[in-house]
């Protein structure tokens, strides 16, 4: 079926607008779209979106992660195999993380990573035919914010929620940071690691993040202050 921008689309639909636009200028087609001969087909169910000048993608609700290059993800170390760690990032197969790709790591000076630890890492190689590869350093050899995360709590959520809270215009972190101190790391693979001073605060944080999923910006602010007052014991 023919679809246009802003429509709810299903796999198999095609969009002629993109083909027409492609004749005049360069077009970028994002996730959920695929060029097949001279048509652009939809491969995911969702809403067809466009950003000027010529970027098109399908915005869909998704819980399963497909690795893509350059994204920061949170994974669980599941195996030590020779000189690499195998890390489960929620993709179809585990990703490889070399022990040399930690800050200051050498052949003699191995990083201390145990099975069951969680790491915040960047996706270096993500190809459909190869095992994904992670690194815990940037191109200058510095760790930045990447590395092993200790304590705290890890939970899974939909990929859309992670994108939503990482959006600079989302008021969630803005309102939460006023209420109580915490640390968090959000992986683009739908995993969020949180840590606060107490168990209760950690749960409250997770509650606020998950509760924000289907709420508008105004409602998110209300939820945050509501949770803060529950935490402070104003509402019993």
């Amino acid at each position: 079926m023919k679809a246009s921008i802003g429509d709810v689309v299903l796999p198999g639909d095609y969009c002629e607008e993109i083909t027409v636009a492609g004749e005049k200028a360069k077009v970028i087609i994002g996730p959920g779209l695929r060029r097949e001969l001279d048509r652009v087909y939809v491969t995911k169910a969702g809403v067809l979106k466009k950003r000027n000048p010529c970027t098109y993608w399908v915005d869909s609700y998704q819980k399963r992660y497909v690795p893509s290059r350059g994204e920061n993800v949170i994974g669980v170390v599941v195996q030590k195999a020779g000189d690499i760690f195998r890390v489960d990032v929620g993709g179809s197969i585990t990703a490889a993380l070399s022990y040399l790709s930690f800050e200051g790591a050498t052949k003699k000076n191995r990083p201390e990573v145990q099975i069951g630890d969680i790491v915040y890492a960047k996706m270096l190689v993500a190809s459909k035919d190869m095992e994904p590869e992670l690194v815990c350093v940037d191109s200058h050899g510095k760790k930045g914010r990447l590395g092993v995360l200790s304590d705290g709590f890890l939970f899974k959520c939909s990929l859309n929620l992670v994108r939503k809270i990482l959006n600079p215009s989302c008021p969630l972190l803005e309102s939460l940071k006023n209420e109580w101190p915490f640390e968090m790391a959000a992986g683009m693979n739908g995993r969020i690691w949180i840590k606060a001073n107490s168990m209760r605060e950690t749960i409250a944080l997770g509650n606020a993040i998950l509760g924000a999923e289907y709420q508008s910006d105004e409602e998110i602010k209300v939820i945050c202050s509501n949770i803060a007052s529950i935490l402070a014991g104003h509402i019993s």
């Binding site: 489960d88 304590d151 006023n178 683009m188 950690t202 749960i203 998950l210």
Partner: protein
């Protein structure tokens, strides 16, 4: 089935909050998630949801030859299927330990407890009997599959009606539903399995969620101290199944406590199932069309919107938030300048930075000092 990877921090966190008397989703130890039973357009099809766990059950029947040893009894067959739709670690069309375990447990609960009158399924002795087949399909796995699957089995079996038959001489006529009213299955009693997760050998947690289930069955450094206890009971508080997986219990009080809790819970579930069947029957008699589409259209938006969060404080209600007036927010809270600032540092990375370096535990980058 791929292995399920559980990180140490999840394990430690869950163990710790459970030992402190809390649960991740704000329930108390003995609290179950919301049970919902909805029937489909045909007899014997239903979707049961327990929190976010969803299971579809369908009963079908056919005429077969009875077994040699039981020539006057019908056959009950239970088949459990778990597809990758339920959770990513499952593979399509492959039997896993979990499916076999579920299958066996349901067989124990419904076949071996003799809750179904199999003799009433006989048409011609040694020649023709009805064979009932219960297909259980897991739509979403969020822990406690056993309880959800057993409720689904019970609800669909109790709802199922088989076509009427008449015998004239040697021939047997099977009437269609329009010719003759179908006959309901005879259930002597209604057994239901309920699950308890055992933490550190003495804490009983009913209706465990997926993460609680995986934490309590996983091995810690000092060996496993938890397990899953399945108690099958009917509405007369008679025990039908008792199954323990995980570490051995060395305290009999745990089992007694579990059975005591289970008896109340089972009674409530059976009442719920029965009342749902009565209302469904009444609707069908009024010729109201019932199908699964009703689940979606009656609460259209809520199909995506979770009403229960998997991480929740004890007193948090998402509906309260919506009703609350915005003006109720105390003004000093809004106007107060924040101690922290969220700064986008790289792509996909936002960081909370302290403005005046007040707290020591937040990493302070050099860029934030001018604030």
């Amino acid at each position: 089935m791929r292995d399920l990877y559980l990180s140490n921090c999840e394990k430690n966190f869950i163990q710790k909050i459970i030992s402190e008397g809390h649960r991740l989703d704000g329930r108390i130890y003995n609290e179950s998630r919301k049970l919902d039973i909805s029937y489909g357009s045909e007899y014997g099809s239903c979707i049961v949801s327990l929190g976010e766990t969803k299971i579809l059950a369908q009963v079908s029947c056919e005429v077969v030859q009875p077994k040699q040893i039981r020539p006057n009894e019908g056959i009950l067959f239970i088949n459990v299927e778990i597809s990758p739709m339920a959770a990513p670690q499952f593979e399509a069309n492959r039997q896993t330990d979990l499916t076999v375990y579920l299958n066996r447990l349901l067989e124990k609960c419904y076949k071996d407890s003799k809750c179904i009158d199999l003799e009433s399924l006989c048409i011609v002795v040694e020649e023709k009997v009805w064979s009932l087949r219960v297909d259980i399909k897991v739509l979403n796995h969020d822990g406690n599959l056993i309880e959800c699957a057993s409720i689904a089995t019970l609800a669909s079996l109790a709802h199922f009606k088989r076509p009427d038959v008449t015998r004239s001489g040697d021939s047997v006529i099977i009437h269609t539903l329009s010719e003759k009213d179908p006959i309901p299955t005879v259930l002597f009693h209604y057994p239901v399995c309920v699950t308890f997760a055992i933490f550190s050998n003495n804490i009983l947690v009913s209706d465990p969620s997926f993460i609680e289930e995986s934490v309590c069955t996983s091995n810690s450094e000092e060996g496993s101290t938890g397990g899953l206890l399945v108690v099958g009971m009917n509405q007369y508080k008679e025990l039908c199944v008792l199954n323990l997986s995980g570490a051995a219990i060395y305290n009999s009080n745990v089992v007694h406590k579990a059975i005591l809790n289970a008896s109340d819970r089972c009674k409530n579930i059976v009442e719920e199932v029965k009342s749902k069947i009565v209302t469904d029957d009444n609707l069908r008699q009024k010729r109201v069309k019932i199908n699964f589409a009703d689940i979606i259209t009656t609460d259209h938006i809520q199909t995506l919107c979770k009403k229960d969060l998997s991480i929740c404080l004890k007193n948090f209600k998402i509906n309260d938030v919506k009703r609350e007036d915005d003006s109720e927010m105390s003004e000093d809270n809004i106007t107060e300048d924040s101690k922290y600032d969220v700064v986008a540092t790289k792509t996909n990375v936002a960081e909370i930075k302290s403005k005046e370096a007040k707290s020591s535990w937040i990493e302070i980058s050099s860029e934030s000092e001018e604030d």
